[in-house]
Amino acid sequence: MEDKAVVEMCLKGDTDAFKYLVAKYKKLVYSIAFRFLKDPYLAEDITQEVFFKAYRKLDMYDTSMKFSAWIGRITHNTCIDAIRKDKNYSVAASEDPIIEDTGESADEIVVKKEKKQWLEEQIRQLKPGYKTPLLLFHQAGLSYEEIAKSMNVPLSIVKNRIYRARKMLKEKMAEYYKEA
């Protein structure tokens, strides 16, 4: 089912149709919120808040835009508002992510886990204006044009921000491997 059709159903009063959109985009919303707030519980609260806001503003959704781009923008704004309200949000302790058993050796798992945690930390330290476009590109699979439209900024700025974010991470990663 297409997202636009689901949105139309919701606007006609079929509230339950919105559940489909929540199921489809909850991981994207949570992954952005988690990289803003660190705390998985707060990220989950924010995820709920984002979908609640999206439902209430559904009549304002521009169907020429991808739903993932629109919800990504709401997530970005909601996270920034949450951090402004309570600055502790951005320094809360994080839980270790659970790594599934993939048949790798214990050393490999540990190295992979450390690398992943380190990368997550570096992404969290990025400025919101760099972090959200990067996540929308790599996790939501949006194009530069779609990100520019959703964030209401020129295409050149999106290209620059994603490039700078990558460059910063790449340089830090080079240092990390050098030290390791």
Partner: protein, 174 residues
């Protein structure tokens, strides 16, 4: 001339024009330095794929839907609209009832007074009009009689005048 870092990044994103893409590919084939840069960028891209995405979020849909359903936007709006007028109407009705109980005898007296005054004024007015009417009739009758009297007087005068004029001529002839 070597490929810029930004162009390598855009190359990996498939965001360069076909012409530029061909040029970059040709350059990578002959430039080991740029090829090494490309390898580093590719390694970095594969690291980004390590980012956690498959989070366990069981039951989130249900929690969101519960929150949405418990905050249906129309319900509080309607409650707000109707709550104030109903209270106001009840309050005003009560005040009117109490005032009616207190002031009913006064209102009754006032009503009687108004009714009597109106009746009196109406009767007096009618009587006055009747009197005036009959007075007017009398005056008209009198004027009519005066008219007849005047006419008779005129005829007599004319006749008298004719008679005396004729007599005076006969006297002169004599």
């Amino acid at each position: 001339m070597h490929v810029k870092e930004k162009d390598i990044s855009l190359f990996l994103d498939n965001s360069v024009s076909p012409r530029k893409r061909k040029m970059i590919e040709e350059h990578f084939a002959v430039c080991p330095k740029c090829k090494e840069k490309l390898t580093r960028w590719q390694s970095f891209y594969s690291s980004l794929e390590l980012l956690e995405y498959d989070f366990e979020l069981d039951g989130l849909e249900d929690r969101v839907m519960r929150k949405i359903k418990s905050h249906q936007p129309n319900q509080p709006v309607y409650k707000g609209i109707y709550r104030i007028p109903v209270t106001a109407v009840l309050f005003v009705s009560f005040i009117v009832f109490v005032l009616n109980l207190i002031f009913e005898p006064v209102f009754n007296r006032l009503g009687d007074f108004c009714r009597n005054t109106m009746t009196l004024m109406l009767d007096e007015g009618l009587e006055l009009i009747n009197t005036a009417k009959w007075e007017a009739v009398d005056i008209i009758e009198m004027l009519k009689s005066l008219e007849m009297t005047g006419l008779a007087a005129c005829i007599i005068l004319i006749a008298g005048g004719v008679y005396f004029t004729a007599n005076r001529k006969s006297v002169r002839k004599a």
